[in-house]
Symmetry: C2
Subunit: 177 residues, 2 copies
């Protein structure tokens, strides 16, 4: 387990922005952590360490913010990186999934050939809130014949129940609110 | 200089997609390189090595694809990472710049406090085409009081003249078409 002092020091680098994106919500802004070289390094080291025991063939992450930590964790684990993107952005043959948002719906795509059959994907994002994006990314992994090794997040907003949406899978998170 | 054999092996991992996003254009699809662990590692190593001689305080990169290599190069250089995003995505006080696209225009934002006065930013992206996005990201760096250390790209599409758009600055690129 990463020690509590390290976690607290990382929390001290996260900016709390009240009423964003809407009134009553406190947004956990990681940009103040990412711009701080020692904190950025510590966060990536600790998250990569949590993921290191897993048997992972590739890291999968959804745009945009997922790309920041997804590529770093792939690099630390020595595996390939697979982007999941909004419709129309990936140039080759894709599979698509639509998923519900608070208002309306959104969709994500993955390249058909991003994973080989049976490959184990670690799905990474910076924050898990309701879990909708991570769940959609995981569903895309399975649609193209891959398996989920685990889900990993730098920050978990526990009150929003994202972990329950990913029930049955390993869900790793470093910093919890 | 990275040796030509390494560059050729990386080119061999890039997928050429004809007629994307429109007829007559050959899209250089880096997802096939990123998903290949040894090629991904080699590309990041060589790009980071090109950037290592620069005096850099932070890496700045625009969403979405810029985040993939931007965060990695920041990590390799041991500096902080600063995201540039589409309007409305960054939660704190921002500066904005509008820039012309082939049809219409787009805009990008940076947090006001992303750089300290005089800090030297390395602007990173995966591909430089016309240079519009990189130029806008660089302008945002200067708007908030930072300086440009250099621009760095994994791939340069030389026929599109992006380098001229960044005239007066150091422009580093690893793989050229």
């Amino acid at each position: 387990m990463p020690n509590e002092r390290a976690i607290e020091s990382l929390k001290g680098k996260i900016r709390n922005v009240p009423d964003f994106p809407k009134k009553g919500v406190v947004f956990r802004d990681l940009t103040t952590l990412f711009k701080d070289a020692p904190a950025f390094r510590l966060a990536v080291d600790l998250l990569a360490e949590m993921c290191a025991k897993r048997d992972v063939d590739k890291v999968v992450a959804a745009e945009s913010r997922g790309f920041i930590l997804g590529s770093l964790i792939a690099d630390r684990l020595g595996v390939g990186f697979v982007p999941v993107r909004k419709p129309g952005k990936l140039p080759a043959r894709t599979r698509r999934i639509a998923y519900a948002l608070e208002y309306g719906e959104d969709a994500l795509e993955i390249h058909d050939d991003a994973l080989d059959a049976g490959e184990r994907a670690l799905v990474v994002d910076d924050v898990i809130a309701t879990g909708g994006t991570a769940h959609a990314a995981g569903a895309l992994v399975e649609k193209i014949g891959g398996r989920i090794a685990a889900y990993a997040f730098l920050v978990e907003l526990t009150a929003l129940g994202g972990r329950e949406k990913l029930a049955g899978f390993d869900v790793l998170s470093l910093i919890r609110y």
